[in-house]
Amino acid sequence: MEILVCLKQVPDDSVEIHLKPGTEEVNLDGVTPVVNAFDTYALEMATRLKEAVGGSITAITVGPEKARDAVKTCLAVGANQGYVISDPTFEDADTLGRSKILAAAIRKLEADAGKPFDLIFCGREATDRASGQLGPQLAEALGTGVIVDLVDIEQTDAGICAKQETEEGYRKVESALPCVVTVNKPAYDPRYPTIKSKMAARKMAIPVLSAADLDSVEPGKPTAHVVKVFEPAKRQAGVKINEETAAESAIKAVDMMAAAKLL
């Protein structure tokens, strides 16, 4: 199975970040760039599928050339080859624009390889902007179906059967190939690279494709406009209810919620 995994380099989301004082600029000084967590889940799921059914995984990212590090990371944990799609004209692209760039890059890679990708994996969202739109937009640009929020996948005779997480539980969804899927946190963690795979990944070439390498890609002007950038409000201290008995505490809690017109 020919698999493509789209990934994004984002600031390390385990670090608390703030705006530069008096500005709307996010202070990312000293924050390490990492592969978006949901993309690492997507890669792990893709790698497990590849190990089960055979095939090859290509990892691509749209971003600055230094996003090569993110691709290199993926080459150590399952991806067989990787590309960075980078061009000064892509810098302002919003999610819709990026989906068009990715679609053009995918067509280019398919044409070069002489075979199409069967399955395209994305993370369900990026941990920096969290729009969650890229997967569906990419499917639209490619003209394929899309299944979002996967937590498991397996190959079937007709294509794939995916386990999708919903608000209420899980849903099994089948699709023919090609198809785009977006991945939520599965029941397993991404693997650690081995010393050998990491050293091998360091030696692999990661080509950079620019706008000139792609066929007539036009990301277009951003369709969404940022009105304001601000930090989330600090959570206010809660109210502790600690009556004599649990029953009395519950009654007081309900009374308070009723008084605040929450019930």
């Binding site: 650690y192 081995t194 010393i195 050998k196 990491k198 050293m199 360091r202």
Partner: protein, 379 residues
């Protein structure tokens, strides 16, 4: 400050850090209590191939410099010194083969490590500690075989190794010149493990007796020539000591980091205790000692990489790093106050872990003999 390492090692450092932080540090707290050897953690470490770091590139290893590897070992030591000891002692077990073995022996030992095994070095005996030449284990040539009998003790990885490098007397009348070194694979009939130590520290590392009872091995398992065993063992320790300095430095670094974190949080007299210059000076002294130890380790390892003599430097690194690891861990407990003495906080474990580094792979008294001999010379 830290080790100056290659880009490749920097890449690996991030992964090793993540692994140690997520999979080693917290779980090892519980294994420190139980004394159980945490097989699941070691299985994961083997999956990452952490045991292969010291394998030379021509035998499948990653081809890193020793200082590169030291940076990775220090990260492991910060998470749990017993874990780092297991990984490093595996390298120790491999060293006699790399020092004196023939091509086939080197290939075999390295392959066992690459396949996920650990090595063990068996020199110490109940009556032969610092006086390693007093060993009573014997090896008697019998046709194309040697038959070994004796008991080795305090063997790191003794119960979990895939192979052992064992010293035994082939000629009792010749003193140290009658000692030889043998390569024995686990599972060889006549080799078994005995008493397992219930240790004060590095409790996630396995330490036990290795018993040889009419253990017959092919004569081709002799490393080097008969009578070279003591020299091979001393060369092995010359190299291995710097690594123990590296792990001791990691313990000290962890102790300092814990002390700083606690000192910023703990408020007394209306301010964090680390606002007191008395405690800031403690931290400064910790940093001075740690950095000195680390750079001494790096110097010894660089000499080793260049094939230059390093007995004295390796001994200084081991001796100094383990002495300061004890001092820094003790001062960290002092900064934690009563909580530092409690097992609920992380620093008392560091003191327990640090102590062995003044003892094994040559006591610090033996290290001082090595340093003195190399400094004063014969007169």
């Amino acid at each position: 400050m830290s080790y100056l390492i290659s880009e490749a090692a920097q890449d690996l450092l991030g992964d090793v850090k993540d692994f140690c932080e997520n999979e080693v540090k917290e779980p090892c707290k519980e294994f420190d209590r139980s004394g159980e050897w945490p097989k699941e953690i070691y299985d994961q470490a083997i999956e990452m191939q952490l045991q292969t770091l010291e394998v030379p590139e021509e035998y499948g290893g990653p081809g890193l410099s020793r200082v590169d590897v030291a940076a990775l070992f220090e990260e492991m030591a910060k998470a749990d010194a017993g874990f780092a000891t297991t990984i490093s002692a595996s390298g120790l077990g491999m060293k006699p083969v790399l020092i004196a073995g023939n091509e086939a022996q080197k290939k075999r030992a390295c392959q066992l490590i690459m396949d996920g095994g650990f090595g063990a070095f068996c020199l110490t005996e109940p009556g032969a500690g610092s006086d390693a030449s007093a060993g009573k284990t014997t090896a008697v040539k019998d046709g194309d075989s040697y038959i070994l009998n004796g008991r080795k003790c305090f063997i790191t990885n003794g119960g979990v190794a895939s192979f052992y490098c064992v010293t035994a007397m082939t000629d009792k009348s010749a003193g140290v010149k009658g000692m030889s070194m043998f390569f024995i694979e686990a599972g060889t009939p006549g080799l078994s493990t005995g008493h397992e130590e219930d240790k004060m520290g590095i409790r996630t590392s396995n330490t036990c007796d290795v018993v040889l009872d009419d253990c017959r091995i092919p004569a081709s398992n002799l490393l080097g020539a008969e009578g070279q065993g003591f020299t091979i063992a001393m060369k092995t320790l010359d190299q291995a000591r710097a690594w123990m300095g590296c792990i001791a430095t990691g313990i000290a670094q962890r102790a300092m980091e814990e002390a700083i974190a606690y000192g910023k949080e703990r408020v007394q007299f209306g301010k964090p205790i680390l606002k007191n210059q008395a405690l800031q000076f403690k931290v400064a002294d910790m940093a001075i000692k740690i950095e000195t130890a680390r750079q001494m380790v790096a110097h010894a390892l660089t000499l080793m990489d260049q094939g230059l003599p390093c007995s004295k430097e390796s001994a200084i690194a081991k001796c100094y790093a383990s002495d300061i690891a004890m001092e820094v861990a003790s001062e960290a407990i002092q900064m934690f106050g009563g909580y530092g003495y409690s097992r609920e906080y992380p620093v008392e474990k560091l003191l327990r872990d640090a102590k062995i580094f003044q003892i094994f792979e040559g006591t610090n008294e033996v290290q001082r003999i090595v340093v003195a001999n190399n400094t004063i010379g014969k007169f």
